[in-house]
Assembly symmetry: C2
Homo-oligomer: 418 residues x 2
């Protein structure tokens, strides 16, 4: 093992029966990448002694940094701590600073007015052959073990506790310990061109890329993200080289380029609104608040987002959004006429510069022969211009909602930049 690389091991039966989706691994991988440490593998195992033991053996044979999350709770399905203790040949001892921290959390933060349970005191017991990493946000401390030149970090599975420990303890420690290389990514988003067409266009570009730069295609929502990744030793050289290639790539996709940053469509809309000092409102039927949720997931969105009327029923469309009854009855809720009314009226109601409106049938029920499940009408408007668009998606409810939201935001961007 001549280079630095990491493996991530996540522990928990819930991962193997599919009861929860693992978001920790992706977050950890991002943070490691930022400091130039590539992740070699990610593995999920159950709350099972042999499976965890074998994973430790296997991963330490291919990586020199092992990040372990989960299995540290106060209940008996969590076996990671005793296992690590045995794996590294230590014994459990009470760690006084951790006990004081757990006591503090119970008295001043959780404030349930309850005495410390025996099992909470047990959380302050740690193997005597590890370095304790303080978990400011929870009761289970992080632990660092070393064996055969390999570092093993054990972190709790609760996302915000794991994130706190990574930022305050793990990342600084890794930066101190390793002279890492440098990994840089450049990502751009295209729309209006399929993956195959795009690939045909980029054949020569890709073939001429230096050996340490790779190109990846990430299709989603009917758009394609392109990512250049470069490994190198010197930060300045890597940046120079990848920026040069990225500039060339951007020229090649100029006509279909949406953004040259790794950002979401709601972030693009947010930046445009902030730059233009404009405001926006939404009127959602079929997406049921999902577009509003995307827009407001951006910190600081209250500066440009006024609000929304979610008109799931005819009555709300009529009464709150003032869509005329005749239009609703004549054309139906999923029609160009209705989304046009919706977008105009919400613009006036919320007195914003821009507005978005959607109405469609997301399924599984509600389709008709001329308006099958997946039919969507979208409208975006500024004070002087209005665009409508009809689309048809052919997936399940959840995916149809996501596709509608993404493509409506894309249409809004088009209105704002054209």
């Amino acid at each position: 093992m001549d280079t630095v690389s990491a493996s991530i091991i996540t522990i928990g039966d819930e991962l193997l029966i599919g009861q929860v989706i693992d978001t920790n691994s992706a977050w950890m991988a991002q943070e490691l990448n930022k400091i130039g440490i590539p992740v070699h593998r990610r593995i999920a195992v159950g709350d099972n002694w042999d499976a965890i033991w074998n994973a430790l053996n296997q991963e330490s044979a291919v990586s020199n940094i092992i990040l372990i999350t989960g299995g540290l709770g106060p209940t008996s399905d969590d076996i990671t701590k005793p296992l690590l203790c045995e794996y590294f040949g230590g014994k459990l001892v009470l760690h006084q600073p951790t006990l004081e921290h757990v006591t503090y959390l119970f008295e001043h933060v959780f404030k349930r007015g309850l005495p410390l349970a025996e099992r909470n005191i047990k959380q302050a017991e740690v193997p005597d052959n590890c370095t304790i990493l303080k978990n400011e946000l929870g009761t289970a401390p992080g632990m660092l073990f070393e064996k055969n030149g390999c570092l093993f970090f054990s972190l709790p599975g609760v996302p915000h506790e794991m994130q706190g420990l990574m930022k305050q303890e793990v990342i600084p420690l890794l930066q101190k310990r390793f002279t890492t290389g440098c990994i840089e990514h450049r990502t751009l988003l295209t729309a209006g061109i399929g993956e195959s067409m795009l690939a045909d266009r980029l054949v020569d570009f890709e073939a001429a890329l230096p050996k340490n730069i790779s190109l990846a295609y990430l299709p989603n929502f009917g758009m394609v993200r392109l990512r250049l990744t470069m490994f190198g030793n010197h930060h300045d050289e890597v940046n120079l080289s990848i920026n040069e290639q990225f500039a060339a790539l951007k020229l090649l996709v100029k006509d279909v380029l949406i953004t040259d940053k790794d950002e979401t469509l709601e972030a693009i809309i947010g930046h445009l609104l902030t730059e233009q000092k404009k405001t926006i409102a939404t009127a959602e039927s079929c997406t049921g608040g999902y577009i509003a949720h995307l827009i407001t997931s951006i910190a600081g969105s209250s500066a440009y987002y006024e609000g929304s009327v979610i008109s799931y029923s005819y009555e709300v469309k009529e009464k709150v959004l003032q869509v005329k009854k005749e239009i609703l009855e004549k054309y139906g809720a999923v029609s160009e006429q209705v989304v046009t009314e919706m977008v105009k009226n919400v613009l006036a109601l919320m007195q914003t510069d821009y507005a978005i409106a959607v109405s469609g049938i997301m399924g599984p029920a509600g389709g008709t022969p001329d308006k099958p499940v997946g039919t969507v009408w979208m409208a975006v408007a500024g004070k002087e211009r209005l665009i409508t668009k009809k689309m048809h998606f052919r997936f399940n409810r959840q995916r149809n909602i996501q596709l509608t939201a993404a493509n409506t935001l894309l249409l809004m961007r088009q209105l704002m930049v054209e």
Copy 2:
């Protein structure tokens, strides 16, 4: 290897740099569980020849069913197909039915009016030593290889294509091929009691559980889900035994039990509204449409959900929700008085039986000394009763929004069942 078990291998650099969250594995694990096949491990590797090759070796040493997703796209970063071809000692040949299917998709479904590109025709080339599994929804076919009694399924990484193949091809094939055991889960949700307290209460119950039944604690959103899992050979016996234990468990947590099904809070609210033949509306400030999104993520929610006013600004609170200016100025937007007005007014505006309102500060900015980031006021109302509650969350924006939504839905449930 005397029992049936599965490993899931997901392929893609984007998984190792944390650019995407892997939702495929969880979905696949659920489906395998339903037919009694336990998942032994999940592993993610990059678009790297050696890493994929090693993963195939390692996983086939511990599992007899290997599900592989990703790496089958039309672009050159996808190396899975040639690798599998070499791994199993075959050669690539054109598969006529797949070519016809790809041609059909381009002509009748994608309808871009473009001729089939060379790289799309290549998608119809398959190793001559595999069984082709038809991918109704996309251009890359699924493939089944067999080696040393082990089945290897290669599926595309696009979620809905993978799901279609799993349902139509993989699951029926596994059921035909293996006499699987039986896995049953029973899940319930508690609220108002911490994980440690709950564990103390269940010490004797857990100690007395039969060896083939395990208890897991899944804390989230300040609530704790409990899951019993049982492995066995005979469906009836397993059901009888786990139901008996589950009934005992339910009695022990009777006072804090929210649901005895593995369902979300929005599904609980949906069931209650359907049973009671009632309707609901929402008025959201800080959650920005997330509560509406949760409610409308349930298929059929249009039967009971009327709509929402998302009043992100003071103006919308005042103008659309008719919250009195004096109240807003005197108490501020994040106050019991304002959420009380919001919930009453949206109930009247949308003429529903129930309504929900929230107002708070989700961060990172916007906090004040007496209303720090994480402060939330929530109100739920029926026609005769109204409950308000103040909570304080101490996490990041995204988590604070999720916690607010979950706890508001919990409060709504309380109003509906009490």
